[in-house]
Structures are given as C-alpha cells and as structure tokens.
C-alpha cells in the first residue's frame, strides 16, 4: 500500500497547486503556459504509468519482492516528475501573469482540464489496485483473498483497515482495564486530507503574504472604490436628483407611508413616535429651531446638527428617502399629540406659497395617517 502514498499525495497536490497558479494569474486570466505544463504533466504521467505497469507485469512471473522494490522506485520517480513539473507550472503562471491577455485560456476550460486530470487520477488508482490484485494472485494467494472488493471506494482503498474477521492479526498486546487496541493503518482519505490541509496552509500564506493576494485593507479599498465608481455612474445618469434647492412636499399617501416607516425606525427614538419630541424637539408644533418648510427640514435631515445630537442622514438615506421623511414630518404639523414637548425655536411662517397646497389638506392627510 505504502508505495501509492507518494503518488496519490502528488495527485492531491495537483489541483491545489494549479489552483494557486490560477489565483495568481487571475488578474490577467490564465496563460497558456499552464495549459502546456498540464499537458506535459499529463503525458509524462501516462508514459511513466505505462512503464510501471509494464515492468510490474513483466516481473509478476519472477520474484514478488523484487517487484515491490521496482514498483516503489518507479512510483517515486513519477511523483518527483510531477512535483517538479508542478513547480514549473506555478512559476510559469507567475511569470505569465503580466503577459498580454491574448494568450488566455478560459476559466471553464481550465476547470475541465483539472476535472479530466482528477478523473485520470481515479482511473489510475483503480488500475493500480487491479495490478496489486494481479501481483498477489501471482504470488500464490487465491483470487478471493487478493481481490477484496470490486466496488470503487474499496478499490481506492479509502479506509485501508483490516476487516473485523481478521482483527486478531493486528491486536496489540495492550490491555487497559479491559480495553484493547488494534493497530489499523491510518485511513488514507484522512491522511491525505491532512496532507492537503498542510499544503493549503503553505499556499494560503504564500498567496496572501508573498504573492499578490489582497489583505484586509487592500480588499476594503477595492470594495469601496468599486462602490464609489458605481455611485458615480449612477449620479451621472440621474436626471432628477433631489436637493434642498428643488425638494417638494409629497402628499401622496403612499409616499407618506414610506416616510413614516423610515421615521418610526430611525427618528422616533428622539422625536417621539407621534412627533411629540423627546431627546429631540417637538415636530408637530409650528416652532422650528432650524426652520420649517420642506426645504429646511430636508436640509436638517440631510446635514444634521452634529453639535446638538442630530445625525446627518445623507450617508444612510437616499435623497428620495429623505424627501419622504421630510414630507412625513411636515404632515405632522398641528396634530397635537399628548405629552407634546414645549415649543423650541421660532415660529415658522412659509414665506411664499407658490404651489398653494391648501393648509387643510395637510391636516386631512395627517389625520388619515394618525388613524
């Protein structure tokens, strides 16, 4: 069994290493150097495996022990070749990262290739298993004894343990208060998972601390830049951007309902659920500290009054959301809730009533909402 270890380990490394190469080359796609290297690996692998198979089968007729030795040597050679070609591929990927992206292999094709190679690894595993059975039969064991099972998982020998019927063979002479111990092999899947995680550790550290993986600050800047760029495009395309200059009082029930939702979630905590005031001033009387009317209210919401504890909301709400809240606040005028806070600021009188919204309608709408 042991002679497979190196081989399978290098198979496991393969996708890992190529993945590392992949992420290194991500910036400019995957160069065809990887493709070439992978193909080379592939062919070398096939050649060497054929060689191993042939030499093993040749040796079957001869001596068992000799076979094993030959076999393990050639396995080592295979592994060495694969490993060295891998390091070549990683290097190639690195050097090619900056090369013009004309020679780029598509991502899906890359993964198909990796998939093919993995499949190949499985097939080779099965082949080796069969060979092993052949060798055992040649050594004189009966076929049933040698051939454990034909099922694929068993063929891959994932558990590598001794069946219960034969566990006496591996029973150690340990006995602790009646507890005995078997000397089963480490389950190969477990072992290779362990190796895999160790390889992962090196690849990870290389990627983030030697390669060009983004650490958290860089990652953050990328994220913020992308968002800023997106916002800029958005702003450029926006034609009807609402500002304190052009904001209008919305009286549609749907808009005011949206405004109320935002108000209850964010403003009520200081200005009261009915606008009666609390840590912040009363919103229902006609006295305003920073001016009444839709434009002033919008402005106060947008820029806040940080010195007095009023937050600037422009980074949290879009202009249209602020317009809706401002409109809702304005709609509270004259509702006279219980426990209203004493008036603060100056009485505000709308200077020019251009669009002549009748004062009554405000009250009507406010009353509807209060219901």
């Amino acid at each position: 069994m042991k002679r497979y270890n190196l081989l399978i380990a290098s198979f496991l490394c393969l996708p890992m290493m190529t993945f590392a190469g992949n992420s290194i080359a991500k910036a400019s796609g995957i160069s065809d150097a990887i493709l070439v290297t992978l193909l080379v690996c592939f062919i070398v692998l096939l050649l060497v495996i054929t060689k191993v198979l042939v030499s093993s089968i040749e040796a079957i007729g001869k001596e068992g022990k000799k076979v094993e030795k030959n076999d393990s040597q050639s396995t080592k050679i295979v592994s060495l070749i694969i490993l060295s070609s891998l390091s070549f591929s990683a290097q190639a990927a690195e050097t090619n990262a900056s090369i013009d992206s004309a020679y780029v292999l598509s991502n899906s094709l890359f993964w198909i290739l990796v998939g093919v190679i993995l499949l190949l690894a499985v097939i080779i595993g099965v082949l080796f298993k069969s060979l092993n059975t052949l060798i055992k039969v040649a050594k004189g064991e009966s076929f049933e004894e040698a051939e454990v099972t034909t099922d694929l998982f068993a063929a891959l020998n994932l558990t590598d343990n001794i069946p219960i019927e034969r566990e006496v063979d591996i029973m150690l002479d340990h006995n602790y208060d009646g507890i005995t111990e078997l000397d089963n092999n480490l389950p190969p899947w477990w072992k290779y998972m362990f190796y895999g995680t160790i390889v992962f550790a090196f690849v990870y550290i290389y990627h983030y601390h030697i390669g060009d993986g983004q650490l958290q600050t860089a990652e953050y800047l990328t994220e913020v830049e992308a968002a800023a760029a997106e916002k800029e495009t958005m702003m450029a395309n926006a034609t009807d951007l609402i500002t304190e200059e052009n904001v209008t009082y919305l009286i549609a029930a749907a808009d005011l309902a949206k405004g109320e939702a935002i108000y209850q979630g964010n403003c009520a905590t200081c200005h009261g659920q009915l606008g009666e005031g609390g840590a912040g001033p009363n919103m229902t009387d006609e006295f305003w500290i920073h001016g009444g009317g839709i434009s002033n209210i919008f402005k106060t919401i947008k820029y806040g009054v940080p010195a007095k504890g009023m937050i600037a909301w422009q980074s949290q709400f879009s202009p249209s959301q602020m317009q809706k809240v401002a409109s809702y606040v304005l709609s509270l005028q004259g509702t006279k809730p219980a426990n209203g806070k004493a008036p603060q600021g100056e009485k505000y009188v709308e200077e020019v009533v251009e669009d002549a919204t009748p004062a009554d309608s405000t009250v009507v709408i406010a009353a509807t909402i209060a219901e």
Binding site: N161, I164, E167, M171, L172, H174, Y176, D177, G178, I179, T180, E181, L182, D183, N184, N185, L186, P187, W190, K191, M193, F194, T197, F200, A201, Y204, I205, Y208, H209, Q216, T217, E219, Y220, E223, V224, A227, E230, K231, M234, G265, N266, A268, T269, C270, Q273, G278, A279, G280, P306, K308, G309, I311, A312, S315, Q316, F317, S318, Q321, K341, A342
Partner: protein, 719 residues
C-alpha cells in the same frame, strides 16, 4: 506473580457526578432564562438577572461547573482503573471537589453582582482566579501522583489527554489572568487593546480546546470502548491525532479576530492552523466511531452508546464547521451573528452534553451495582435531547445568516438597505423563539435523566470502595530495548508532561511575542488620548453591566460596516484599553464610533434609553437599566484607578496631566459630570427625571460619548 489488592474510590466519582448533574441543571436553567430574555426583554427585570450579567453566568456555569465537574467525574473514575490504583490521596480528591464547588459558588455570587473582568470565559475576578490556580494544582498533583504510583506500566491514550489538559489549562489560565488588582473585587487586565484581544482569544479558543475537547476525548477513549466492549480502532491514529491536535490547536486562536485590528500575519496563522486542525480533530471522531465497528447492533439498544454516537458525530460536525468558519469569506458572514452561537451549542449540547449523559448512564448502574431504572426514560431523554439540539441550532443558523445578509445589503442607489440596526434584530425574533423552545426540550430531557438516575441510585446499593487487584510493575528486563519510541514515552509520564508543555507552548509564543515586542504591529495614532477619569468610571460600568456581551467595539473593514458605523477600527485606537472590549457578538449595534459625529446622540437620549430602551425604540430587546440612575460611582476609587493605569503604562503621569494627577482626578470627574448634567437637565426634568451628577448613568454616558471621538480629531488635523 504477586497480586496486590486495593480499592477504587467511587465516592469521589459519585460526588463529582452529582455536582455535574446539579450544576448542569442550574447552568442550563440560566441558559433558558437568557434565551427567553431575547423574546421577553422584561425578564431582565432587576440588575442581578440582567442579560449582560447572566449570560456570563450561563457560560461559566455550563463550561466550568457542568463540563468541569463532568471532567473530574470521568477522570477520577477512569484514571484509577486505567492505572490499576486508587487515587493518590483521598484528601486531595476532597479538596479538589470542595474547592471547585466553592469556586463555582463564588462565580454564582459575583457575576450577578456585576463583578467581572469582561474577558469571555475568564470573567471571574482575581481572587477567584487565584483560587482556580490552587485547586487546579491540587488536581494536577493528585493526577500526577496517581500516575506515578500506577500498576500499569504504560499510559493509555486517555491519560495522555488528561496530562495535556492539565498542563495546558494551567498555562492558559495563568497567562490570561495577568491583571492588576485595585480592590478585592476589581482588577485591570495587564494587557491592552490588540494584545489583550490576542491573549484573550488564545485563551478563549484553547479553553474550548483543552477544557471542552481534550479531556472529553480522554473520556471518550475510556467510555466508548468500555461500553461497546470493542478494541480501539487504531493505536497509530491515537498517537498521531493526539500530538497533532495539541500542537495545532494552540495556534488557531486568532481566527476569533479575523478582519479586526489584529495584525494580518497573526490572522493568517489563525486561518491556516484552523484548517490544518480538521484532520487531527476528525482523528478522534474516526477512532471513536470505528471502534464501534462490529458493535453497531449494540448501538440500537444500548443507551450509553446511543448518546456517545451522537456526541461523537456532533464533535465531528463542529470541528469541521469551526475551520470553515475560520476561512475569511465565511467568517465575514458568520462573525458577530447567531451562527457562532449555534456552532458552539452543537459542540456544547451535542458533544459535551451527550457524552456526559452517556457517561452518567454508564456509571450510575455500575457504581450502584444495579440496572438502569428505566431504559424507556433514557430513550425519551435521548430523542427529546436530540430534537432539542436540532431546534436550537437550525433556527440560529438561519438567524445568523439572514441577519448578516441584512447588515450587508445595499440598495441600488448605494445606500444600506437596512440602516436601522434594530430592523435586522426584530426580523429574527421568531428564530430566537424557536431556539428557546429547543433549549426547553433539551432541558426537559435533562430533568428526565435526573429522575432516572435518582431512581437508579435508590434501586441499588452504592459501592463506595470497589475492590480490585493487580500486580505491581516489574522492573524492566534488559531485553526491553527495541520498543517503539512512543511506547517508551508512554511509560515516562514526566517526559509526556514536558513534551506536551513544549508542544503547546510553541504556537502561543510565536504569535504573542512579536505582537508584544514589535511596534509596527500596533501603529500609534497621535490623536488617541487616555480616557478622562469619569470615562474610566463609565467604562467600568460598561464592563460591570456586561454591555460587551451584546455590543462589539470593532468596526471591520467592510463597506457595509464603514457605511453603518464609520471608519474601520485601527490597532492604535485601543492602546489605553485595559481590558479590550471588542466583543464577539452583535445583538445590538457596534459601539466603537458611538460618540463620533456620524452616530452621536444627545446625552439625554442615552439617559432615557438606558432607563427604558422601549420608550424610545418600541421593538428594542435591550434590557432596561433603571438602577444606573440610582447607583453612584465610587469617587474614592478614582485615584486607585488612575494609579493602576499609570502602572499599566497609560500616561497620566506625563503632560498635560502633570504631577500626581491621581489626587486631582476627582476635580475633573465632577467638572465633566456637571457638564453632562447641565446639558440634559432641561430636557429630562420636563419628563420628570431627577438628574444627579454622581450616578453611574452619567459616567456611562461620558464613556459612550467618547467612543470614536479621538480618531475623528486626528482626521480633522490631517485635512
């Protein structure tokens, strides 16, 4: 061969077993209270049962009282049998027992009183820390002396785990508990900010590793093969996974601090060592489950094995999930959410809980020389417990994931979709309700077990001293030389102890020493200044009320967080924070920038919000803190606090403070407190509040309004 006759001490096992059951019932009941406080915040109706104080009581009770006594139960039972000897000293056993119970009682008293260090799973104050050290040494002494007088030449794998547990817990506890006392009930962590966080999570993570995992693996290695009557699957696997586990575990602490102000290299070490931990952790699971090869038919009707199989499976799941949560992109989603709470409860309820129950169901019939009173009741316990775990974990996984998505959701216009944090909380309240139901189911199972065990005890006769016999160890013959090196180690307990110590020290040293010594790891920020004395008092109120149990102070470098809270947190901001208060869970919003212009609220808002959060935010689940309006902060401690901070390196002894600031600090306290009172007096008196400058609420407001202020000043200067 000469055979010696001796007796196993079952009495100490029964004592610890009873304590396990008692504290389990209490600790889990407190857990239920905490779970229901999420749905009914009014359950935090007085200061002593307020969430921030009771949550540490729950974690401490379950970890150190329930699992702790469970460890002692299992160790005291299995050690004697694995070594073929009685415990070294009945007196030490008793001191260990009563000392440990006294420590738990002191925790039950001090934590609700708000006496806490705020460091998670190490909340107990310094006198109790000393008591823990003494009792742990007593345990180690008894353990080791028993090992030395054994009649079994080699140490079984369970005993390796016990040795590693003893050594590592001692190291963890000592290093993390470095603190400077200022009174009998108050101390400050020796470490500040980033360093404190690193030490804390090196400790916190390895408390999970060496208190909740390694001793329980030891118990598994004893009770599973005993109950199944099967040989352990692989001795080789035991060796490899034991050493790999204890070596790798120590390094993984920084995965609790991903995307924080901890230096990148330390974070990366945390990630890769967590990933490498999968296999060694699973080694234990494989050895446990495969030991049952050929005994699976027994699992169907043997309750002990049933519990243990679920325990081992839960262990396998959470030790796979843990490393996955350590990957940066997964951690970015799960950290600070209920996902983590679900994760730890799969471990606690599944692994520790079920293994303990299995062990108790195994021990009681043996020690009382009878049969289990009712298999049927035990089966009910098994199913209701399993159901409880599922009801607990699944809703919280969902809650954690959904809430995280809401935190990160942006509108097309580039604004946070849920700028109001509360909205993301109210959305998952139903999940909290399911979780509480899950907890309730699990608890009912425990009560069923208690009835069953009491009935079992009554139906039998307790065997206090169980007779046994074994031959003493013979001197080793000369032809004993070609043994395997590990076999050699197994008969040299002192070497094993030293070996474990060396192996577990490496990771901690490599991560901590550079963080402490290399300046570039914590770049200084000039505008960051020490807290005012009133703010220090306020910070202690914050600690005492356990605010850090629900509020983080660590803005991660994500757009969704900087949009919500402001600039991300920098290492240099925390240099005067003894201890750090980064937190690990956001039931409420982050507070690192609470005083910044972006988030600053009026003083009067904080006052009213503390008095009754629901008067301002009707759906809030934060507890009310009316007692902060009545309790006064202790100005007689001001000088001691300033002097302690000077000792810890906070420059109150330099300009602009001048000589002997400690003596004058109270002038500043009074001045700042009066300013705050005057600022909000008018608003509050209108609502009928009395506002007095010497109340805890004033200090707490001062502290909250300071958070995030300094770094903003720095930016203004730069511009």
């Amino acid at each position: 061969m000469e055979i010696e006759k001796f007796k196993y001490d079952n009495n100490i096992v029964r004592m610890f077993g009873n304590a396990t059951i008692l504290w389990g019932a209490i600790g889990m009941l407190v857990g239920l209270l905490v779970a229901f406080q999420f749905i009914f915040p009014s359950l935090s109706f007085m200061e002593y049962v307020s969430f921030g104080r009771v949550r540490p009581l729950h974690t401490n009770a379950v970890i150190f009282a329930f699992v702790g006594n469970g460890i002692f139960t299992g160790v005291y039972y299995s050690l004697q049998r694995l070594l073929k000897t009685r415990m070294y000293s009945d007196l030490l056993s008793k001191i260990n027992f009563w000392g440990w119970q006294a420590i738990i009682v002191s925790a039950v008293v001090t934590l609700p009183l708000g006496i806490t260090t705020s460091k998670e799973y190490a909340e107990l104050e310094w006198p109790i820390d000393i008591a823990i050290t003494i009792i742990w040494v007593v345990f180690g002494w008894n353990l080791f002396a028993t090992i030395l007088k054994r009649r079994e030449r080699h140490l079984y794998v369970a005993v390796w785990f016990y040795i590693a547990t003893f050594v590592t817990v001692a190291v963890l506890h000592l290093v993390n508990s470095f603190e400077l006392p200022i009174s009998f009930t108050k101390s400050y962590s020796w470490y500040a900010g980033v360093q404190d966080a690193l030490v804390q999570w090196w400790y916190g993570h390895n408390a999970v590793a060496f208190f909740l995992t390694t001793p329980y693996l030891g118990l598994m290695y004893y009770f599973v093969p005993k109950a199944a009557n099967r040989p352990v699957f692989s001795y080789r696997l035991s060796i490899i996974h034991f050493w790999a586990l204890i070596f790798l575990y120590i390094w993984a602490g920084p995965h609790h601090l991903l995307y924080t102000a901890l230096p990148d290299w330390a974070q990366s070490l945390g990630v890769v060592f967590s990933i490498m931990l999968i296999a060694p952790s699973w080694g234990g699971m494989i050895n446990g489950l495969l030991t049952l090869r050929g005994a699976w038919d027994k699992v169907r009707d043997n309750v002990v094995l049933k519990f243990m199989v679920v325990a081992i499976t839960a262990y396998g799941m959470s030790t796979f999930e843990g490393p996955m949560l350590s990957l940066k992109n997964v951690n970015a989603i799960a950290h600070f959410t209920d996902w983590i709470v679900a994760h730890v409860h799969v471990g606690a309820l599944g692994w520790n809980g079920f293994l303990t129950f299995g062990m108790l169901y195994y021990l009681w019939p043996i020690m009382f020389n009878t049969k289990l009173y009712s298999k049927k009741l035990a089966n009910i316990h098994f199913w209701i417990g399993t159901l409880g775990i599922l009801f607990y974990a699944i809703p919280l996984y969902w809650a954690g994931f959904v809430q995280s998505q809401m935190w990160n959701d942006f509108t097309n216009e580039g604004f946070l979709k849920y700028p109001n944090f509360l909205e993301t909380v109210t959305n998952i309240i139903p999940m909290y309700a399911y979780r509480a139901v899950g907890g309730l189911l699990y608890y009912i199972g425990v009560l069923v077990m208690i009835v069953n065990l009491i009935k079992t005890a009554k139906s039998g006769v307790f065997v206090a001293d169980e007779p046994a016999e074994a031959a003493p160890i013979k001197p080793i013959g000369k032809n004993y030389q070609d043994e395997h090196w590990h076999r050699f180690l197994e008969r040299k307990p002192t070497l094993m102890l030293i070996g474990s110590l060396v192996v577990i020290s490496i990771g901690g040293i490599i991560e901590m020493v550079p963080t402490f010594l290399v300046d570039s790891n914590i770049p200084t920020i000039k505008s960051v200044k020490p807290y005012t004395p009133l703010e220090l008092h306020g910070r202690d109120v914050y600690i005492s009320e356990g605010c850090n149990n629900c509020h983080s102070q660590m803005v991660r470098p994500f757009r969704s967080e900087t949009e919500r809270y402001g600039e991300y947190s920098k290492a240099g901001e925390f240099v005067y924070d003894h201890p750090h208060l980064w937190g690990s869970k956001r039931t409420g919003p982050d507070l690192a920038r609470e005083g910044s212009s972006k988030l600053r609220k009026p003083n009067s808002w904080h006052f009213k919000h503390m008095y009754d959060p629901r008067s301002l935010s009707p759906q809030s689940i934060m507890p009310a803190y009316p007692w902060l309006l009545d309790n006064t902060y202790d100005t007689s401690m001001t000088a001691a606090k300033i002097n302690a901070m000077i000792t810890l390196g906070v420059p109150y002894d330099e300009a602009p403070y001048g000589d002997n600031y400690a003596a004058r600090a109270n002038e500043d306290v009074i001045k700042q407190a009066n300013e705050i009172v005057e600022d909000m007096r008018a608003v509050l008196e209108e609502d009928g509040f009395d506002v007095e400058a010497d109340k805890e609420i004033i200090a707490l407001i001062a502290y909250l309004q300071r958070l995030g202020v300094d770094i903003e000043k720095g930016q203004t200067v730069k511009k």
